[in-house]
Amino acid sequence: MLEKGRISSFQLSVLLVGFVLGSSIIITPGGDAGHDAWIAIALGLMEGSLIALIFTALVLRFKDKTIIEINDLVFGKVIGKLISVLFLWYFLHLGALVLNDYVHFFRLELYPATPRTVMLLIIMLVCASTVNRGIEALARCSLILVPLTISVIFLVTMFLIPHFNLNNLMPILDLPIGKLLWSAHSVASFPFAESVVFVMILAFLNKSEKGGRAVSKALIIAGLVLIIASIRNSAVLGPMVAAYNYPSYQAVQVIDIRDIFTRLEILVAINFITMGFLKISVLLYGTVLGLAQVLNLQSYRPIILPVGILMVILALTNVANTIELFDFTHKIYPIYAVPFQIIIPLITLIIAKLRQLPKTDGGMP
């Protein structure tokens, strides 16, 4: 096993919450549904949890093995490795997408002058050095960062309560049902089902039987936070909420207490920095660990830097312009992600069940 660290189920939950909040803190999901976004999130949460059930069941069935090893066992060496490479591509690409979101937000709102490359490299360096320290360091960081983030979210929500206008949430469900369902599904694929990357991490649980509950607890908590944030944004910003790229950021800008507690949206930006760091680190970790397992390396540490650089390059060349980025995220990603999030794990699980793997007598087929 390339990773000698082990984490507790509590740490896994917290890391998963951080991961899910990662980019959704700033790009509030369900934007297509307008003021019914919170309903879309709730539905997406349900769908996402079902999806999570699939891959969690798959991985926990095999206890200490990551998806790469599981693929080898279920599909045989050749096809297994091909499928694993597909996953690796997904993780790498997703990491690049998150980096895109990251840099786009900061250049837009805070630092228009800083070159994208510089920002990307700095983030990548920190993520790389954290991944270098292993999953335990990552989990422990999340234990400090995530409660902080959630506290900040609650704090600003408290401050915004005076500005709530619940009429903005009415009328409920005036959306064509098709649009709502599509929105719900896109919420499921971003951010909830992106937790499929945890198929690389669930192998390192102290007590693997607690894994399922840890994952569902985390998704529910993250989902609740997002729902509350969504309600808050709609209540404060009104019908324009769908037009904003970054509704949470806009909403918090409204806070102005006696001229001193203004500009609190910087806290939202800080949240994004920390949670984004967690998400990118997890994705980098999954990619690097997975690649090392596919190639049978002795350690994933030497390839962290090159893979990180490739992720940065991918982020730089991903899209020709921003419009395409948003197009991709809203229209294409919910479809593009389905094979990775749902189809492949499901097929793997079915085949594993049919072949009655893992064999309890320890033999490999």
Binding site: L110, V126, E136, R140, I273
Partner: protein
């Protein structure tokens, strides 16, 4: 092992002359080596010699308890001793010498090393053994109050440079026979006595084993101070934060030992090491335990805030001024902007200048002779601070920021050096990348701390891995003493209970003084 000495016999011979010659060869011609030859009369006049180093021995002890009994108890010895001289020394050891610690040896090297540490060797003609008598007594500093760790309510004794006094100070606080001291000698030339102190039954055994291994690994010329030991045994020498705790107070050291840590003391150093050392310990002060809980918790939180302030404040100021002026609260913005009129340097440079100046002042203040101390503080405060502002070189808000930072930086003693470094790094990063950069670097630091371990214990315990009961009881809140029933779990102590559960005090049921009103 490594030393290439000329070949000399290992053990004593029966002839006193040969022995003395061999020893004189090894010891050399130093003027403080005293070899006192004498005669002990039993049946035949027996030649004997006493060897010691003047200045390391207690002279009264040597003359009163060694030489005097030998020279005046002739009749007694004559009566006691049979014909065989080999029991002469045995008789002397058991019945004549009135000193506490006496041992026998046949090995010349051990005689020499004992004499070098202040013991007295006694040889007699015809005997292949020698006596080694403990006569250590040199000039030492009295027990004074601690200079660097000041406590308002607590005891005011601190360690001194003599190992035996320090171990005695520990024993005075813990009179449990389970308090064990393991001795070693480290250092080729200094042969410094090093002691590991721990409480058997609380400290896990593998911890002591690990410490012993690390100490045995040390192979160097001299251990001049406990700082040497710290740098040789810490497991993260490149880390910016210490993973080994130090203290000059016996009450702090014993409190830590009672939680399951081990202490290391070194002869010649008035500081003790405690391992394992965790991040939260930097915020714990002995006074927290001697004061009442609400105030103690309050002070702890202030300490944490002060520490964070001292690291981030200059950076935040620089970042806001350079990149995000809109983040200043509006009333403050006008004042701050006005203060910046006509200043030649960019904010980053100003901040760095002031910070480095402060470090210079601090270091110079430590080294100055006392007579100049006052002058320097006046120069520092008035001339540099005030004049620089008036001359327009540095903004007034900057001076305030740096002054507040400077004072706050002393709140957390173990991290004072670390804090100074972080502060500089933060300020530089703030100047180039603003708040974003500061947060990213903070994440890197967090990640580093999260991965750190001190002798196997994760550095950020009990925050992560999370242990809520420890977190509430003794990190940034201090629960009342009667609630601290068990020792912290992260140290994995063998004996988990500290006190019985019903320690909370309450008013007496029947108050004899209560008057019926």
């Amino acid at each position: 092992m490594k030393a290439t000495k000329k070949v000399s016999p290992v053990n004593l011979s029966r002839k006193l002359e040969d022995n003395l010659k061999n020893i004189k060869d090894s010891l050399g011609e130093s003027s403080d080596i005293i070899i006192r030859e004498m005669k002990i009369s039993s049946n035949a006049n027996v030649d004997a010699a006493v060897i010691y180093i003047d200045g390391l021995v207690d002279r009264d002890l040597v003359s009163r308890d060694i030489l005097q009994p030998l020279m005046f108890n002739l009749q007694f010895i004559k009566d006691k001793v049979g014909q065989k001289n080999s029991s002469l020394l045995g008789c002397i050891k058991s019945s004549v010498l009135t000193v506490g610690q006496v041992e026998t040896t046949e090995n010349i090297d051990s005689i020499i090393s004992s004499v070098m540490t202040g013991q007295t060797a006694m040889l007699a003609e015809g005997s292949i053994q020698a006596l080694v008598i403990d006569t250590k007594g040199w000039e030492k500093r009295a027990i004074e109050s601690p200079e660097n760790e000041i406590s308002i309510r607590g005891p005011k004794d601190s360690f001194t440079e003599t190992l035996r006094i320090n171990t005695a100070l520990l024993r005075r606080k813990i009179r449990d026979p389970n308090l064990s001291l393991v001795s070693m000698q480290i250092g080729q030339r200094s042969k410094t006595d090093v002691v590991i102190a721990y409480i058997k039954g609380i400290t896990p055994d593998n911890l002591i084993e690990e410490i012993k291994q690390r100490l045995k690994r040390i192979d160097t010329d001299a251990i001049l101070d406990i700082g040497y030991i710290e740098q040789y045994i810490e497991e993260n020498p490149l880390s910016l934060v210490p993973t080994v705790g130090t203290s000059e107070r016996p009450d702090v050291v014993t409190a830590r030992m009672l939680e399951g840590r081990a202490a290391i003391l070194v002869d010649g150093s008035p500081m003790a090491l405690t391992v394992p050392f965790l991040f939260v310990e930097g915020f714990q002060n002995p006074d927290d335990y001697y004061a009442r809980p609400f105030f103690a918790s309050f002070v702890r939180i202030i300490r944490l805030l002060g520490f964070l302030l001292s690291i981030y404040l200059p950076g935040i100021y620089v970042a806001l001024k350079s990149f995000h002026p809109e983040l200043f609260p509006t009333p403050l913005l006008i004042t701050v902007a006005a203060a910046r009129e006509g200043h030649p340097f960019p904010v980053v440079l100003e901040a760095l200048l002031m910070l480095i100046l402060f470090e210079i002042l601090r270091e110079a203040g430590l080294r100055l002779p006392r007579s100049l101390g006052q002058a320097v503080s006046i120069v520092g405060a008035l001339v540099i601070g005030q004049a620089a502002v008036s001359a327009g070189l540095v903004g007034a808000p900057m001076v305030i920021v740096v002054a507040a930072t400077a004072i706050a930086s002393f709140m957390v003693v173990p991290f004072a050096d670390t804090g100074a470094l972080f502060r500089l790094i933060m300020t530089i990063v703030a100047g180039f990348l603003g708040l974003f950069g500061m947060i990213i670097i903070s994440l890197e630091v967090l990640s580093h701390l999260a991965a750190l371990r001190s002798l196997g214990v994760p550095y950020l315990s009990p925050v992560t891995p999370l242990n809520t009961s420890d977190l509430i009881k003794d990190t940034w809140l201090r629960a009342p003493l009667w609630a601290l029933g068990s020792r912290p779990a992260f140290l994995d102590p063998l004996d988990k209970k500290r006190q019985s559960p019903d320690q909370k005090p309450h008013p007496p049921q029947n108050n004899p003084n209560e008057r019926k009103s």
